[in-house]
Amino acid sequence: MKHVPPHRWIDAAEARLSTRRVDEMNAHAETCARCQNARAQALAARATMTELRSEVAPELAWDEIRAKIRWELSPAGSSSARLAAPPEDSGARWGLAGALAAAVAVAAVVAGGDLPAPRRMTLALAAARPTPAVVEEPGAAAPAPAPTALVALVTRARGAVQVDGEGGLEELFARRLPAGAVLASGEGLLDVQLGPGTALTLGPRSSARLARLDSAAVELYVDGSLELEVAPRAAGQRFLVHAGAQTVEVRGTRFRVEHREDQTYVSCRHGLVAVREGARSVEVPAGRAVSVRTGQPMPAPSELSAAELLELAVTTPYQVAWDDVSTVAGSTSRLELTAAPARRLRLDGVELGAGAATVRVARGRHLVEASDGGGPFRRVGWAVVDARAAVRFEAGAAEPARSQAASQRREQLRALLDRSRLARCVRPIAKQGLGATYVDVELAVGRDGTVSFLNITDTDLPAELAECVRTVVASVRFAAGPAATIVEHLAL
C-alpha cells in the first residue's frame, strides 16, 4: 500500500471513510514510521485547532481605538487620511500633481519670488477641537496665534484629596480644571489628565497648582510628590514644573518630582528632563535620578535601582482616551471600585494600586481584576458603565492569606519539580492528541524536609500515568524548613 496522505487521517477521525479503508490505513501505519508520525502530527494539529476555537481576544487599548475611530470618521480625520494615504493606483494623478507643483515652483523662481516654505504638520494639544487636531505651523513671518486655553479633568481619586478646596467625588469628577486650579492631597492620590497622553498623579501629602494651562505652555508649581507622564511636545510647546527654586523642563517623558522643604528629587523613567536652578542646570536621562538642594551645586544624576524603576512603572498616572475635553467629559462616567485596603486592583489591564479607588471610564464593559498578597491578578468581574451616573463596583475583600509555611513549601515544590519528567509521564496521551490533564496532590513536609505522606487526591489521568506523576513528585528533595501540609494542582 502507498503512504497515506496526511489529511486522510483527519477524514478517518471524522468518520468520513469506510471502516475497511480505515483498517487498511491503520495496518499500513503499523509498519510505516512515516505514516505513524504523520498521523500523530495531523491529529495533534486538529486538536490544537479545536482548542484555538476557544481563544478569546487579548485586552486592547479599547478607549484609544474608540478615539481613533472617531477621528477617522470625523471630517478632519477623513481628509487627513486621504492626504496621508493616497490610493495605490493613483500614480498618474500624483504624477500630474507633482508636475503641477514643479511648474508652480519654477514659475515662482522665474518671477523672483521665494519658494513657499514647506508646510510642517504638528500635533497640538486639543482644546475646543473635536479630535487630536492637526494644525499647520505658520510661517516665520506670520504672527503667532494666541494660545488656546485648555482644561484638565480628574481621572482617578483615592483617599483624601481636594481640588480648589472641594473634596466630594461627584464635584471632583464633574469639574473641568482651568489654569489656576489647586490640587491637594492628604493620605490619598489624585490623577489629573491635561490632554492626550499627558497626565499627573499627585502623591500623598502634596499640593500642586496649575499655574498655566494652554496650547503654548503648561506650568505647574508643586510641593510634595508628583508623577508625570508627558506626551511629546510640538515645537513651541513647553512643559515646566516648578519645585521650589528648581525648574524641571521636559519635551516628552515619564518622570517624578518630589519637593520637600529645600530639596528636590527628580527621577526619570524614559525621555529626558532638564533640572535648572538659576544659571545652573543638569540633564536627567532615562533610568537616572538627581537630588538637588537649593543653593548647592548640581550633582550628577545617579542610576535608579531596579526597585525604583519598578515603582515608577507601577505608579504611571491613569489616563483615558482623549480627543476633546467636551467629548471626554460627556462620554465618561465615574466608576467607584471598592476593595480591601491591601487588595491591588486592575481595570482593563491598567493597575490602579491597592484599595478602593474612583476612576473616570468610558461607557461600556470594563474588566476588573484583583490581586492579593503579591499573587497573580484574577478576574473579579465586569463593571458595566452605561450611563452618566456613577457606578459602584464591589471588588471584594482580600482572600485569606495562606500560611507562610505552606506558601514556602509550595514554592519549593514548584521550583524543585522536574517538569521534563512530568511531561514524559503524559507523553503517551499527548501523542493521541489529548491534553489539559491534571493531578491534584497532597503532601506533608516535615521540618527536616522529609515527606511523611503523599496522596493523589484527584486526577483525570489513567492510573499508571498518575503513578508516574506521583513518583516524580516523590523524588523532590525539600530543604529543612517549616513543617507544612500542602495541596498542589499540577496542570499537565
Partner: protein, 223 residues
Amino acid sequence: MIHVVPRQPSHEARATLDAEAEASLIDRCRDQDRAAQEELYYHFRRQVAANLFRALGDRTELEDLVQEVFVIAFRGLGKFRGEARLSTWLYRICVNVALGRIRTRRRRPQAIGVTDLEATAAAQSGATALAQAPETPERAAERSDAARAVYAALDQLTPKKRMVLYLHEIEGLDLREIAYLVDSNAVTVRTRLFYARRDFYRILTGTEPLAPGPGPRPRKGAP
C-alpha cells in the same frame, strides 16, 4: 437571514442584540449618532478583536485592524441591507480585513520577534481567558508551540485557502456560512476547503506532495 453560529460555542459568547434593538441601533448609527456608534463599538469590539486574533494568529497590528473594521462598518452601514445579522455582517468585514492583512504580510515579511514579544506581554498581563486557569509554564509553552506550528502552516497556504480552512477548522463554521463570509458559493468553498486541508496537512507533516488521490476534482480555474 444568515446568522453564523459556530458549531461549538466559542469561549466568548458572540455579541448579539435582539432584532428590534439592532435595527434601532443601526438607524441611529446611520444618522451619525455618536452615542449609538459608541454603543455598537462597545458591544461588538471583543467579538471583532477575537475574530481577527484567531484568523491571524498574532496580535501584531490587532488594534489597527479592529479600528479598520469599525471604520469600514460605520462608513458602510448605509449599504447594510439587513440580510444577515449585524454580528455576521461585522464578521464578514473581519474576514475581508484579515484577508487584506494576510496578503500584505505575504508581500512584506513581518518583523522578527514582534509577535513573540507581544504575545509574551499579553500572557504576562493575564489578558487571555485561558491564562486565568492555572497553567504550568511548560503546558503554556507546548500550547503556544502547537498553535505556532498551526499558524506557520496556515501562512504557507494561499490567502483564500487559508481563510476557508481557518473558518472551517478553527471557527467550526459550515460550508454555507463560510460561503456567505467569503462572498462565494458552497461548492467553491467545498473544493477550496479540500485542497486547503490537503496542502495544510502536507505542510504540517512535512510530507512530499503525493499523487492525486480520491476526492473532488479541481474545476478549471479552481485554486
